[in-house]
Each structure stands twice: as structure tokens, then as C-alpha cells.
Symmetry: D2
Subunit: 262 residues, 4 copies
Amino acid sequence: MIHSGELIQLVSPKGKRYLRVFDPDQELHTHDGKLILREICELNYGDCITSHLGKSYTILKPSLYDLLKNIKRKTQVIYPKDIGYILLKLSIGPGATVIEAGCGSGALTMALAWFVGQEGRVHSFERRPEFQALCADNLARVKLLERVVFHVRDIEDGFAVGEADAVFIDVRTPWEYLDQILDGIKNGHPVGFLLPTMNQVSLLLAGLEQKPFAELEVLEIFLRKYKPVPERLRPEDRMVAHTGYLVFARARKERRRVPVAV
Amino acid sequence: MIHSGELIQLVSPKGKRYLRVFDPDQELHTHDGKLILREICELNYGDCITSHLGKSYTILKPSLYDLLKNIKRKTQVIYPKDIGYILLKLSIGPGATVIEAGCGSGALTMALAWFVGQEGRVHSFERRPEFQALCADNLARVKLLERVVFHVRDIEDGFAVGEADAVFIDVRTPWEYLDQILDGIKNGHPVGFLLPTMNQVSLLLAGLEQKPFAELEVLEIFLRKYKPVPERLRPEDRMVAHTGYLVFARARKERRRVPVAV
Amino acid sequence: MIHSGELIQLVSPKGKRYLRVFDPDQELHTHDGKLILREICELNYGDCITSHLGKSYTILKPSLYDLLKNIKRKTQVIYPKDIGYILLKLSIGPGATVIEAGCGSGALTMALAWFVGQEGRVHSFERRPEFQALCADNLARVKLLERVVFHVRDIEDGFAVGEADAVFIDVRTPWEYLDQILDGIKNGHPVGFLLPTMNQVSLLLAGLEQKPFAELEVLEIFLRKYKPVPERLRPEDRMVAHTGYLVFARARKERRRVPVAV
Amino acid sequence: MIHSGELIQLVSPKGKRYLRVFDPDQELHTHDGKLILREICELNYGDCITSHLGKSYTILKPSLYDLLKNIKRKTQVIYPKDIGYILLKLSIGPGATVIEAGCGSGALTMALAWFVGQEGRVHSFERRPEFQALCADNLARVKLLERVVFHVRDIEDGFAVGEADAVFIDVRTPWEYLDQILDGIKNGHPVGFLLPTMNQVSLLLAGLEQKPFAELEVLEIFLRKYKPVPERLRPEDRMVAHTGYLVFARARKERRRVPVAV
């Protein structure tokens, strides 16, 4: 049974997708005719409903990947290939508190909100109100808004939300905010950055070297898709060649030492 | 404050790492001398303790990435670059129930257990008792064992644990178990596979095409690391060229249709 | 001085390129107006001529790379990244005799003709007359036609041109012609293949293993371009993900042994 | 028939290779016993000779690729994947005159000498006499020395060998020699550079932008090998992740314009 208020995805015969919070009182008007959503109440995921023109729409439970692809974007978004790795490196899990700066359209915000769960919290900092609004809208559409606290302000003034378990920074000049990052993160915890150019990576590394950060890592991730044809297996003709360089480090802000053991 | 029973990581001056469940009554004997762990009680993550030979060890909270690197392995393990993407595609999050077949040394099992949280559940199937034992040991060491139910049996007999939110299969001939997978997963939900050779991918795709699966995807992920030197930024000389091909699909096992709307 | 009959390339202010065999009696009609080519007689490469509308066109000597990009194509052409490596592996150099089967639009034919020089020879086999004609046309336009002998026939009947220094095969089912290849190549010499799918690679390898071929190699080559902006250095957004798999082997057709030395 | 003075390659049963200029009066002492090379006079490539211990050695004609792999090196050498592309972009062919600066161990020098043929000429500049000697030695061993003119001097003083058809620069700070390069190359002709770090690429691009160079290109080439097993086709586990960035440009040193046509 699919209940009112659940996230559903309706897939047309031609593969067009409609992501909705299920409301049995609504209708969906498509090129294939009208869908009476109330019928969904008696169905399960994977079942189909039929439009008044006789076209069959499949009801799917959207995966996080579906949600990410469905984001309304005004900016370049962070790609799933990068998000997955960021989650591991930043150790995002149920109950974590994460600071994110530069939310953009909210792709990473959404993934972070998904994985911190109901006990976790994402503090999202964004200077530009229109991006904050877009990000909030994208999260509301997938019912994850309550896990995010938005802060529309310049991170130059610090985060002021206590020490987080992890910090992710997607702004143009991250090397200018390293002190604020150190203030905002628990000691020994991981920080991540996304940067499009090598010049920025170089400047960030130089900055990190002069502050108490350790375990610096720079990397990039490629994803190559194949045409799923068993008797003619081959990669797709083209692929994304660059989204951004990922930089990771670990805060080592204090180095208190206890006296030598005897 | 660091409490007894927490996972900690001690890092030697030369970068050697010791992962432990913190027990204040223990000592750690290293090449740099003896560490009295009780001293940690008064410290925080990022602080250091000193061995009886005067060497300083940093105390870090291990990230999931650290835990994965620390796994005791008898098999090729799934790499973080692949795990991150699997999590997104399979939509693993707090509260999810996941079936995994072919647990190997337990790298993916650990990540799944991490992300499903305390309310979630991982059903791990493995035919070979020695691998099941190794996997369980690895999970116990990082205190995630309680989220996993181990099943030492051949998946040819089916999973018999109800319908899961997602299924991941890492066995040699996954095309032989497609009916069992369909039985074990909620309709419309995602299934993932990892396969080392193209021949296997081809056979799996041919199998998936003949059963009610949709949205077939085949891909591979590359990770390229850079030397983190700001004034001489360049990739490392060598990289991993292949771990495996990832295949994803969606179960579409029933296709019930309601009557045409009027 | 640029002489009549030389290959020249005229580059418009907007970067449009015109490749021509220089004929001083011709005019070139462009969107920027008419160019009187006779004026080129008094100029050198790198100089400009001006159209009757006052637009400046630069005269360049085309490189082989320019010629390859300028090919009229009806088929997928072999890319420069692959051609360069094929040349090395097949040891194409001045004076070499090469057999090529499946000339397509003639990109590789052109490169082979370029590198074998005036003393070398390319035997190009193509079953379909329209491709042979296109290939010949492309080679004539760059004045390399005389180095190529075209054979419009099925290679199932063998090559019948004596033993070549190297053989390159770009046909759909190369494993059907391994005996003909062995007949057509000098013993110990290299053979190359280009294949778009993994299934073909697998079938070819199985065939090569059953015949006297040695040193089997399978590989693929990627080329990633960067935006040439010094202060914002980063890769281009997209790249070619697949052209084809290259397979190389060495003929070992006879294994005559002289008596044991004493 | 194999003639005295030809380059031959002897391959042991275990795959060990011996590259030699064939001298019938010599013997080859191997772990498998003594080979009487005179016996080769009556054989062809692909045939075998037998050691006095009864081991069979195959005689192969070395390809350029074999020669490049056989180079005695004291430096990082340029890889075949890069060399092939350089040849195309620099349009190296029979009869060309090429300037090369920074010959290293001579891998590129050898390939250039191979492809320019007997009428062509490679001017190789190298400041350090020991590398010049190594490079000359490597070229002599494969009988290509006569096509190369060595200049042991700093390119800061210019090339002074007339205008070349193409220039390739493999030195640490190529941006310091752009005027010399412009002097040494025919107008409109291609120049290539190899650089290991992004910082160097950035500095070179900034330099090229301030001089009369056009058509700037930056790229990198990857080569991924597969295990040639038909029934278990998969890439090798590891690969070279970085050799260097290739930068190409075209000299546009003068911009003489003829009067407007009427």
C-alpha cells in the first residue's frame, strides 16, 4: 500500500518521470492524458495506473539517485560520483552534524540530509538568498527540509553553530576561511572541498599547509557508462571529463600532550 | 572527553595507525614504546598521548573511510570509490533493509551497516563459513555487528527474509539467481551487481533482459589521486585501473494495472 | 615562397579553415569576400592575405593532424590518439609496406601513406566501392594517393600482394581472416586490429590463440583536453569516452629450428 | 634471409629479449647456453635457433615499439602513448627537419629519427653532456644515429640551425625560451611541450599568450591495458596514471599583410 504523503515517481510509457509527494486528491495532467492519483491508494510500488487515454504509468519509489537527478538547478550541481565518495570520506552517517558552505542548488545538501537521518543535522551556509531559497525548495519537495538549518550569511563571520562532525566547502576561495573551518569542526575530524580549477587547488593546498590540517588528499573521480547491450558491450561514446577536484584534510587544531608516561 | 567503548584511532609519529575500541584498562605496545590508554580519558580527539619512550601519538576519531581501509581481508575488497556510488544508486539510508550476497571480507557490509543506522538491517548471505566469520569479525571490531544478520547458505535456495529495500550481489554467476533476487526485493526497488569481467557483464545483461528488470545500467568508476604539493601539482604516477564493473537494475516484477480511468 | 601545387590551409578571422592544393589561377569565395590566391606566390607560411572586403586570412602549412581533421567522412574515423599508437606498434616508417583492410573514410590510410614516404606502399583493401572511392578522394586531396594501392575485394580471398611489413585490420569479424593475415605478413611482424565492442575482442583473442600469433595485447587510449586558460586551468567538461579497443599481435607462422649447436 | 648489420631481436623461451645489430661472427651467451649467431644467416624472421643446451630462441625483427622499450634510461622517458600523438601533431614525416630540446635518454629522439627517414634531420639540444652521450649511445645501438645532429649547449643561446618544420621542448622552464623557439621554427608550424606539473602548464600558457603563438592546446593521454584472456576479459589491475601534460601551439611570428585586393 502506498500512503498519502509518501514520495512517489510516476514513469510514462516513454520514460518521462514525475516526482510527487503523493496526494490522493490530486490529478496529474500529462501528454498521455489525465491520471487519477486516488487509484494509487490500492496499489504497490511497481504497479501501474492508466490514464483516461489508456496509457500505462508505472509507480516507483524514488531512490536518492532519482531525487538527485530531479533537482531544479540554477548552478552546476555536484555529481553522484563525487557525492558518494564525499559521504565516505566525511563519514556522514545517521546522527551526524555537518556544516556545508555554498549549497548551490542543493544536490549535496539533499544527500547529506538523507544520510544524517532524523537525528542528524545539516547546517547549510549560503550568501546568496536566491540559492538558499532554491535549495530549500528542492529539499522541501523531497521532504528532507526539516533536517537542514539554513544560514544566509557570509562564512567570513564564522559558522557559530558549535563544532560539527564534518565540514564541506564549495566556495570559490576556500583558503580564505580556513580559520573559520577550524573553529567549526571537532578536532581530528574531516573537511572536504570541491574546486573546478588546478589553480584553486594549488592555492588551497598552500593555505592548508600553513594551518593545523593533516592528511591532505587531492583526487578526481571519473564515471564511464556502458551501453547495456549484452551482445555488443561497449562504453558510451562520450562522458563527463571533469566536474571538479576533491580535496580532503583533517583538522588538527590543538596538539595538547600529556606528560610522558612513567 | 573520549569515553570507554568508543572507536579510536591512534596515529604514530610515522603515520602508523592503530584502530581500537577504547578500553582505559589496556596498554598499547608499539615500536615507539608503551602507551597507557587510561590517559585518553582526559583528552579529546586531536590530542596526543606520549609513550614511555617519549613518542607522541595522536588520537583520532576514525571515519568510515578509515574503518574500511582497516579491514582484515582475505579477498579483493570493494573500493570506497565504488561503495559511495552503490550507496546512492541503492538509496541506502537510515532505516533501510538491505540484502547483500557475497560478503567477502565485509567492506561493503560495513558501509551498508554504517548507513542503515540502528533502525536499519543488513542481511548478509555468504556460502563460505570462513568468509562469514571474517566479515563478522571485521564488523565486531568497529561495533556495527548488531545491524547485520548473517546467513551462511547458498542463495540458490532464496533469501527468505522478506522483501528488502535494496539488494546487492557480488557473486561469480549472478545471472543464476535472478528469480531469487526478484523474490527478495520490493517491487520497483534497485538491485546492484559487481563483476570483474566483461564476459560476466554480458551474461548478466542477457539474463536481466529476460526477466522483469528495467533501467539497466553498466558503468565503471576511476579514482585518480594527486600529489598534494601546491607548487608542483600533478597526479600520482600510478593508479588502480580496474576493480570491477557495476551493474544496476530495477525490479519490475508485477505489472498489475487498474482499469482505465473514466 | 609558397609554390603552386603545395598543400595550403587558409584560416579565416573566425577560425574557419580552407584546405587546398595551391593553384595561383584560382580565387576563393568566402563569407568574408573573395581571395585572389595569386597573391600567395609572394608570401610565406604564417603570412596573411586580405579579401576584397578587407578581411585577413592566414596561410598555414597543414600538419598531418590538420589533414586528418579535414577528412570527408561517411563512417566513424579512427582518431589521432589511436593512429599515433598504431604507428609505433606497427613500426610504420619510411619505406614500409603495409596492408590495411577496411579503409573506411581513409583516416588511417592517410596517416600510413604519410609515414611510409615515397618509397613505402600502402595496400588498402575495401569491399565496398563507395568507401574505396571516398578514401581515394580524401587521399588525392592531400596528394598522397600515389603511395596507396587500392584493392576493392573481399579479404576472404587473401591479400595476394606479397608479405607486408605490417597489417592493420578494421573489419567487423577479423577472426575469420586470420589465415589470410598470416599469409600476407612477414614472419615475426606486427598485426593490429580495431574493434568497437568487448564481444568482438573476446572472439578475436580466442581466434588468435588458436593460430600462430604471439604477444597478444589489448588496450584502449583516452585523450583528455584542458581549457588552455593559465589562471583557470581545468579539463574540458566532456570527452570522447570510447572509440575502440586496439588489439595487437605478432605473426609466428613458421617455427623452423636449426639443429642443436655443438 | 637476415643480413649482417640488420637489427635483430632474440627472444628466449621465457620471453627475455636480446636486441643486437646482427654480426655473424659473434656468439651470444645466455642463461640457456651459447648461441652461434652465424646460423641466423640461413634463417628468416620468425625462425628459431637453438642454444648448445637445446633451448630455442626466436629471431624477430624489432619494431620501433621494441626499440623504445629497450632504451637504456637514466631519466623518465617519454611513453609511446605520448610519442605517437606528438608525431601526428608535429606532422613528423619523411624528410622533416625537427628541433628537440631536452633529449633525456633519447626515446623521443629515436622515434623522431625513425620517422624523418634518411632525408630528414633531428637537431637534438641537451645541456648535460652525460645525457647527450646516453642518447647518442641509444641511437647508435639501433642504427639511427646518422639522422641526428647533437648540440650540447644551452638553448638560451638559440638553436642556430635554421628554421625547422617542428620543435619539441622537454625542459623544466620552457616559457623562458619562447623567443628562441620562434626564431627556430618556420612560421605557421607546430611546437610541442611536455610538462609534468599543472603549475608549469599554467606558466607556459601565460608565456605563450604573450608571444605570437596560436591554437594553444593542453591535453593528457591515458593508456589502459587489458588482460588478453578471451573468456575473462578485463583491464589490468593498475595503470600509469600520469606521465605528463602535452601542450601544443603554432608559431605565428610575422603577420605581414598584402594590400587589399581590388
